[in-house]
Symmetry: C2
């Protein structure tokens, strides 16, 4: 069943059968950009979500969690420019009204509408603009791209992907946004995945959690989490396939993993101010949890991120970041590779050509850090990005 799917060119959230989307510039963002969108399925969907672990949850997250309690949904209404977080009870009222406006427009039950908002915290949604905006949205099969654009904040490009399973049975498509306040266990990131496959409810939630664990939970932009993070999976069953469950779900899981990893990597690569993707592969950890923690710690380290920004082969920072984590390690067994060049073997520096490493760092838009702990069989990969002056500039001026 390996790689039994092909990528759909320009595919996204409306590639799967029965999904429509559309977006408008409602005026929530001051710039003349799309900022309000609806994703709609012609048929009710089995639905699952994974949400931020931040204790401060945005009103849309709370609302969507309540609406997902029944495991069904048929639409998502999303906006950028305002997170609808930390605004007290008004936030819940507004999120519910936003869902209600979409429900009325689409003629579906309120509790079948999920809500997602991203942007500034502590500012109420401009509900007059949301109201007229929702009325103005035109839904179409071609609207996936507009949906992907409308959820962007400081992203420089939309992030989409869709695949069709080789057997032709079903399609999975997704869109995501990222850019800042991104860290393991979800941060200001939103991801919407649709499929026309018929999925068993238990498998639906389980497969999404599995995919999120190896993708969105393995990226870090700046170590901050956000109150708004949400990953949604909607399955409308219109493909007419035999229901997919744990016993026959391998191909679906593989395709879903691929989409989530692609979108997560796209978020890391497009981190605020980023000029390159940093991929951290950890092998030989005591177990997988330790490997995950080690990879994320290195990918999150400011001193590693700035060194990579400057094409500086200062691998001591990788080792210091690893040592600063709680991961079990034995220095004498530690091997470290930077862009596939061994810089540390069994805990000692190796004679390596620093200019060769520097040149390889300068050329590519991707840095590969590989750490072998040589203690066990745990392995994991995390993704981050370099830390640039531009990140600081973007974040110093965000609300101003």
């Amino acid at each position: 069943m390996s790689s039994a799917y092909r990528i759909i060119h320009s595919g996204g959230v409306t590639s799967a059968k029965g999904f429509l989307a559309g977006a408008v510039h409602a005026g929530i963002k001051s710039a003349d950009e799309l900022d309000l969108a609806i994703l709609h399925s012609e048929a009710p969907c089995a639905a699952a979500g994974v949400f931020t672990t931040n204790q401060i949850k945005s009103a849309p997250v709370i609302t969507s969690q309540r609406h997902l309690a029944g495991g069904r949904a048929q639409a998502i209404v999303a906006n950028s420019g305002c997170a609808n977080a930390c605004v007290g009870q008004q936030g819940l009222v507004d999120a519910l009204e936003m869902a209600g406006l979409a429900a009325a427009k689409l003629g579906i039950p309120l509790e079948h509408v999920l809500v997602a908002s991203t942007g500034v915290i502590g500012v109420p949604l401009p509900m007059d603009r949301v109201t007229s905006g929702i009325r103005g949205i035109q839904l179409s099969r071609e609207g996936g791209y507009h949906f992907a654009r409308a959820i962007m904040t400081t992203d420089t490009r939309p992030k989409e992907m869709a695949v069709k399973i080789d057997t032709g049975e079903f399609i999975i498509g997704g869109a995501a946004k990222g850019a800042g306040m991104i860290h393991p266990h979800l941060a200001t990131m939103l991801c919407f995945i649709t499929t026309d496959a018929l999925l068993d409810a238990g498998f639906l939630q389980s497969s999404l959690q599995k995919a999120v664990a190896i993708s969105f939970n393995m990226i870090s932009i700046d170590g901050d989490t956000s109150p708004s993070d949400s990953v949604f999976l909607l399955a409308n069953g219109l493909a007419g396939n035999e229901a997919i469950s744990f016993n026959n779900g391998e191909a679906f899981q593989e395709a879903l993993d691929r989409i989530c990893v692609h979108l997560a990597r796209s978020i890391a690569r497009d981190g605020e101010g980023a000029t390159k993707l940093i991929e951290v592969a950890v092998e030989g950890a005591k177990d997988q949890a330790e490997a995950c923690h080690a990879a994320r710690t290195i990918a999150s380290s400011s001193s590693v991120k700035t060194a990579m920004h400057g094409n500086d082969p200062n691998w001591g920072r990788i080792v210091a970041a690893l040592g600063g984590s709680r991961v079990e390690l034995v220095q004498e067994r530690l091997d470290v590779y930077l862009n596939n060049i061994c810089v540390m073997k069994q805990g000692c520096p190796t004679p390596c050509d620093k200019e060769e490493i520097r040149a390889s760092l300068a050329i590519a838009d991707k840095v590969l850090i590989r750490v072998c702990l040589n203690l066990g069989s745990g392995q994991a990969t995390a993704w981050g990005c370099d830390l640039s002056e531009e990140y600081v500039t973007i974040n110093s001026e965000y609300t101003t």
Copy 2:
């Protein structure tokens, strides 16, 4: 006994009776700056140390830990420009030789010499330069300032302080370095504290740990820890005071706390690229451990640090950083103040003048963030600094 001490103008590690210091430019750093120093007590000292929690420990840390096992020391040899970390067995040989050279020069036992190194990781110490450098060091009662300069890396100014207890019984003085890779639980920071007080051995270690807990462990520059962090306390007893122990140690502890907090704040304020100090006071946490964690989490948040750099009153990031921690909180009880202006009351935004906050952020070189959880009696203060473009520039070019 409150504030029963006065600050000694231009005081430092040689203010207490019997301490001498000196430094040279040995050539470990390429720039023509002091980079090698010795601190010496005329009499053997009771000594204690607190070291990095990073699992990768530099050779000087391992060596000093061994030498401190007996609780006695009489000198410290320190260098900047090279951390003597991650260089295998050679590191331990070099650290021991460095201690031995100082011991021979001073005519004291090898195991009474402590070692501290800070700088690039993964590069061996240039022992020829260290050898001739140690020979050239001239020790004097006025050498404390040179010692404080010689331990600097990217610090922009030396960090020193000394106080004399009002009763005139004894003096405590200290010097520290910081700048980058600074995070709770010690990072690339070194601190040397001397006193001519006679101290009970158990009280010595305990008082240092208490002072470090509320000072150096409460600062963060960039979330990275280092293999080299060390805080030393040497007490030579030359003041001739009645031995200080737990039953009569209040004034000593208070003065030691004051020096450590001052030096820790100085390190935070002088963080790489920093333009302002950020002080985070957390009150009403469930307990003190939670208050410490909350304060450190906020002081470490990249998005908070960049907002403060831009004088941006984007307090939502403070709340998001807090929520991203594991600290128990109830959003409806949360109050947040920025420069003493209430921005959130009981979990809701307050009507406040953002321009007034912006102006207050722009004027001062210190930002005060106060968070009241209103759950218990735990309180703590942490210090950090803003994150500037300059931090990135410094760290992109460190070894190059």
